[in-house]
């Protein structure tokens, strides 16, 4: 077994520097690496390129990095619900690259799996496909999209073991598994870190080979963005 545990979030983020490209798991505020984001804020690294499906809200998630103007470029599929983001985008302080959600997922997974590029029909005939190679297969047009390259990936899992094996919970899975191993260094925070052998090898969502560092996270807020309930 190859041990991937680090003592804490400070050690987990060792080597994160200005101008790096980061991938961050999560969909909306669901399944975001809260501890790593807090540490990125604390370190105040600058000029980051962030690849994440969303950009958080004003006072949570990636919104915390935006507030400190740490993000130079944001690659995301949906950036609504964030006034500061809007301001920085419209003023030109921040560059924004909008990518269809499935394409974003595919580009991360391609990086993980060693595919240099993939073909997707998403965005064909739209401005997303501008200056991109397109190609017909079986009478249908596809856009070629290249795998992402990133320096660090910050992942939130539910349970993990010391070997880096991960299990995610519910829809907090989202982009987290497919960003593992898609960056040079994958840092995972978990709600529950267990000894090897405690997780069923048949039920691992992501094997530890895709993980370089894992630590026990703490103080999870797990904020709900749109609390919606029905009558009992």
């Amino acid at each position: 077994m190859i041990k991937k545990t680090v003592a804490n979030v400070e050690e987990a983020l060792e080597g994160v520097e200005d101008n790096m490209t980061l991938m961050l798991g999560g969909f909306g505020l669901c399944g975001i690496p809260e501890n790593s984001i807090a540490e990125l804020v604390k370190r105040n690294v600058q000029n980051l390129t962030c690849i994440s499906n969303n950009a958080g809200v004003d006072d949570f998630g990636l919104g915390l990095l935006l507030k400190q103007k740490q993000i130079k470029k944001m690659i995301a599929s949906y950036v609504g619900e964030n006034a500061e983001f809007e301001r920085q985008m419209l003023s030109g302080e921040m560059e924004v690259e909008l990518t269809p959600q499935g394409t974003l997922a595919a580009k991360c997974q391609a990086a993980q799996q060693g595919y240099p590029a993939i073909y997707t029909p998403a965005g064909y005939g739209t401005e997303v496909a501008l200056n991109k190679e397109t190609r017909m297969f079986d009478g249908k047009m596809y856009v070629m999209e290249h795998a992402y390259k990133a320096d660090f990936a910050f992942i939130k899992a539910w349970k993990g073991d010391e070997a880096g094996n991960l299990i995610f919970n519910g829809t907090a899975r989202n982009f987290n598994p497919i960003m593992c191993g898609a960056a040079k260094i994958t840092v995972v925070e978990v709600e529950e870190l267990v000894k090897p052998g405690k997780l069923d090898p048949n039920q691992i969502h992501i094997p530890g080979i895709f993980v370089q560092r894992i630590f026990q996270g703490k103080d999870y807020e797990k904020r709900i963005e749109q609390l919606t309930v029905r009558e009992a």
């Binding site: 599929s77 609504g80 989202n174």
Partner: protein, 217 residues
């Protein structure tokens, strides 16, 4: 003229036994409320769930269990969770039978614009481009005209496209229309709406053949 719930109710009739359905944000979300309960249907939400159930009872919400609109949801028996790549694999691989989504404009060739108004705020396309680029069957749920009274059923879209030649059916507050090679084919009128009114509200070519029945809800 139908209200939002009326549009959802009409669209629900297009949901057939054995369908996996992806519902967009807004009116499409309401469709789930009107699907017959004697047929087998599963709802997919592209953030990573199949077998999505109703909103939770207060106090039972789970921050790790949301839909693509970031709303808290529940999972029905037989549900499954998966990552975003697998989720869009289902969509891209055409395993999802029906996609229902909103739009700002639809062109008579099936083009759809739904994600961006230049010069105004851009929120992003989310999964819409993947859905319209892949789905076998796409129904657009929208009002026939925008708030300025301009038609949203056009010869050509003015706004940046979400996808090309993909919309099959449009259900508005005024009508049900099919996209055909010749233009929008009028299939049904909303209760109390005349063919003339629909013609006036449709900028694109409208094809009217024979008697146009009133919708049955």
């Amino acid at each position: 003229m139908l209200d939002k719930n009326g549009i959802a109710q009409r669209i629900a009739k297009e949901v057939k036994d054995g369908y996996y359905v992806n519902l967009g944000i807004g009116i499409p979300t309401l469709v789930a409320n009107y699907v017959r309960d004697d047929i087998q249907v599963e709802f997919q939400s592209e953030n990573g769930i199949l077998g999505m159930g109703p909103f939770p009872i207060k106090g039972e919400e789970d921050p790790d269990l949301i839909n693509a609109g970031k709303q808290t949801i529940t999972a029905l028996p037989g549900a499954s969770f998966f990552d975003s790549a697998m989720s869009f694999g289902m969509i891209r691989g055409q395993h999802v039978d029906l996609t229902i989504l909103g739009a700002m404009e639809v062109a008579q060739n099936g083009d759809i614009a739904s994600w961006k108004i230049p010069g105004k705020l851009v929120k992003g396309m989310g999964g819409a481009m993947d859905l319209v680029g892949s789905a076998k069957n796409i129904i657009v749920a929208m009002t026939h005209m925008n708030k300025y009274g301009d038609s949203k059923l056009l010869k050509r879209c003015n706004l940046p496209l979400t996808g090309v030649q993909c919309v099959k059916t449009i259900v508005t507050d005024m009508a049900v229309l099919k996209v055909t090679e010749e233009g929008f084919k009028l299939m049904e009128r909303a209760p109390g709406v005349s063919v003339e009114e629909i013609k006036k509200a449709t900028e694109g070519t409208l094809i009217v053949e024979g008697d146009i029945p009133e919708m049955k809800l």
